[in-house]
Amino acid sequence: MMKTRILLIAFLVLSMCGITFAQDEEKGVLLNVVYQRDHSAQVVLTATIVDEEEEEPVSGAVIKFYTLADSLEVLLGAATANEEGVAVLSIQEDKVSKAADGLMEFAVRFEGNDTFGANKETASWKDLEMEINFVEEDEQRNIEVSLMSWDDEGNKIPVPEMDVYLFAPRMFSQLPIGEIWIEEDGKGRVAFPEALPGDDSGNIQVLAKITDSDEYGNYASFKSIDWGIAVSHEAGEIPRSLWSPSAPIWMQVTFIILMSGVWYHFFLVIYKLWRIKDYGKNEEKIIWDIDK
């Protein structure tokens, strides 16, 4: 019985010490990485780092990004997490190691600091090719998107069963204009929206996006076509606009009359002061009793 009690007390003491030690230990972090690529052969890797317990962003953390080539980590670069715990690295595609089937493996590392312990996260995505075509059949205008990837031997194969989202970039946001389901042959099609305003020649930029795919990550490509409604964005001449060559005549006339009126009187007063000076030349002292 006594032995049990001693063991119990020892266990409790050790447990408490354990808690204390645990409190002194560095906190853990969670890492997450997102892959994004567009037609310009620019790869954007976005890592997010948060406190493991409170899930608060760890700002200021330095994140290193690696590409895995034959299981070896090759450093791509490092970025510091912002206030939201997001570190972004943008690199050229040719710096990323790629297998014959287009598989790209990445690792992100946080090497720890005084508060947080080190952590590592790996992720892999496959590269793909996206082609946007504008097809007109039976007076019907369509947007056609085809997706291709590679097999183990490096041969091109269609990418089936994917959602592709279409947008038309506007001044402040991207206007959704359709959604395409990619069939078994790697192609999908949707009708081109009617009455979509374009530039003064009717040009519209169509942006196709794959988002949050487990296999392909995020991919975007765009192409322009002159199927929009031509809208002239040239504003008519506004005479009072700050960039117009000269102000309206009425404004100039009013301005000149007002300013000349006031300044004429100022100069008149100054002239009168001059005359006052002249009239006092012959007097030595102030004439006190003449004010009435």
């Binding site: 402040f172 300013m259 009187h265 002249d278 006092g280 006190w288």
Partner: protein
Amino acid sequence: MNIKDTSTSLLKEFAPQMGPWSWKGKTAVVILSAILLWGLYALYIQVFKGHGVTGMRDNVVWGLYIANFVFFIGISYAGAIISGILHLLRVNWRKPILRIAELITVIATIIGPIYILLCVGRLDRLHHLFMYGRIQSPITWDVLAISTYLVGSIIFLYLALIRDFAILSETNEIHIPNWRRKIYKLLSINFRNTPEQVKRLKLTLDVLSAIIIPTAIIVHSVLSWIFGMTLRPGWHSTIFGPYFVLAAIFSGTGVMIIVMYVFRNIYNLKRYLTDQHFRYMGYMLIVLAAGYGYFTFSEYLTDWYTSEKWDAELIDKLFSFEHYGWWFYFANFGGILVPLILIGIPKFRSVKTIVFSSVVLVAALWIKRYLIVVPTLENTLLPMQDLRPEYISYSATWVEWALTAAGVAAFILFFILMSRFVPIVPVWETSEYLEEIKLKTSDEKVLSEKRAREVKQESISVSTS
């Protein structure tokens, strides 16, 4: 009328303010100079580190500086309107308070535009405003109107000073150092009070009084149009011109009452800045408070009733105690109701309550200018990608507060220095005023004696008949 004796006695009475500094005066100058130096240090920081040290950002591009600018230009109305209108109407009691009014105008018109320079940045390009300025831009209107107004105000002040310069250059009643006497002589432009000189001086004063009033109205209208011509909630209003003009006269009158009270107590000028002056100025405040209240009600009622999206957002923010509620209620109720109640009800009316009302309304109108400038800019009309709190809500930094305090200190310091150079109560005009009162009193006495004699004779003739 011989006003020499009165002028001499006035000069003797005003001698202490123009003589050696008292310890209180020295302390005041040291404190004000220290505040001014603090402001200069803040300016140094702002120039070398850029506008990032202020609370102004891409969205809220105007803050404390513009509020101060509008405020100072507003109080400059004291001289232009009060002395201009009262001069044209030949109101005699204006004479002892003229100098204070005109000094407020000139000093405030010099200090106000400095805040624009603090706000714009890239002062190395300031001359572009004159070289490439567009007449169609309200900013150009403002630059030209304010510089014209400043020139007019300085001439107006100078015209009113000429006769005192002449007295000061000749008098032997008070000790004036030779170098100062030479300056007075130069500035008096040989004024000897000859009939021709008097005639021309009166004419020039009449002309300038008539010109300075519309100029002042144009200046503040143009200032309001910088806001009014912009399609923003709370700014795009057709009544902004007259609303700004009225608010300016209101705040200018308030500042004038405060300055009158301070100088009356410092230099013991109760004989000249009388309770009657405060009472008359108080009556002006009642009228102005009522007019200003009417404009305020009309402005916010229109915005609130139509409830256009952006206007409604702004109104909600102004009325909400979580945002600007306390400030808004103080600025729009305190500033109007306090003068109306304290001065309007005879039981409460006294010099102290008039001065207190002025302090409240001046504070309220400064806050009002802040509420015109900042909350409107905090309403983001265009979508923004990066909505960091400091981008959409303005908070003034120590640099801006330091420069604000420096502006107020400079205003007081200028006033103290000017009161050392020329009597704060105009000697010539006040002598005229006192002589006229004397004449009027003696005339009335003669009349009443004559009337009494006539009555007596009538009663004698009635009794004999």
